[in-house]
Symmetry: C2
Subunit: 174 residues, 2 copies
């Protein structure tokens, strides 16, 4: 990150299990993961957790909905490992046109990448079976699969832990 950018964020250590943002919060921030692993998830009205994304080293994570016409955060963000993070104020995300040109370009590219990732995710959720989605997940996030509990991967794929267990079994000895 550029120096100018660095002036505006704050550094923070978070312990495994710590919650950085609650669903319903109106104050929101973005988080950049220097080391460790964060996660965002959606808690549905039946009390079920749905993993929205994992953020390992060098990833940004934030809930964009409060920047649109939705008033408060839909997602909860927590730490799956002890992590070193940068906390980036919302104003810096909204007013990125005030960033130095280099950082502005980076931020725009990050937006585009996020849109691309979500596009692929939507397409996968609509067209692929649970097993195919799991294989795709392994390919896309090879280093994450070992670091998070399987039930959270299942919650990312939109299936139950039981179904994921069966899919894994089927893949290991087909």
């Amino acid at each position: 990150m550029s120096n100018t950018f660095a002036e505006t964020y704050s550094e923070k250590q978070v312990a495994k299990g710590e919650i950085l943002q609650h669903s319903g919060d109106t104050q929101i921030q973005a988080f950049f993961v220097k080391s460790g692993l964060l996660r965002s998830y959606y808690l549905d009205n039946k009390g079920k957790e749905h993993t929205f994304m994992f953020a390992p080293e060098n990833w940004f994570i934030m809930d964009f909905s409060p920047l649109t016409n939705i008033p408060c955060a839909q997602l909860t963000i927590d730490a799956l490992e002890n992590s070193e993070i940068y906390v980036i104020p919302k104003s810096l995300v909204i007013n990125i046109h005030k960033l130095p040109e280099e950082e502005l370009k980076n931020q725009i590219q990050r937006f585009i990448n996020r849109i691309g990732t979500l596009q692929t995710r939507v397409v996968m959720l609509m067209s692929a079976t649970a097993e195919e989605r799991y294989v795709d997940f392994l390919k896309t996030y090879p280093n994450i699969a070992q670091r998070v509990p399987q039930k959270m991967i299942a919650a990312y794929l939109g299936i139950t832990p039981e179904s994921l267990s069966r899919a894994r079994k089927k893949i290991s000895r087909p």
Copy 2:
């Protein structure tokens, strides 16, 4: 749109059924719908169409994947109605930092809105039943439901036309 912005796009009339971008294209553009209705969809390896999005008046539509590390377009974009559109070159999407400040802010907000919309879509696909997703669709896009064939709505919701037909029946007389 600002005048400066206007210098760079071209206007175009497209007839219903016309294809503006094929999956596999390496040359990509963004389209702004002045009047009419465009659609983007993903064709899976079983030959099934999955509606990615609808773009009625005043919407932008484009396939972002070729702006990430994916080399060519994953989506096909076509016209569901005779439409008047602006064709926006890729360079203008990538180099938005060269836009006048006002238009830059608008474009950033559009990116954020798109991310927010996709976030909600992913959450819905993972946590809601087919019927719930349909009800949500009607609420979110009330004016589109009447204008597009139901099979395309089904393809947007990730269900079959048959299932949508049954869901509709159930809603009309529960």
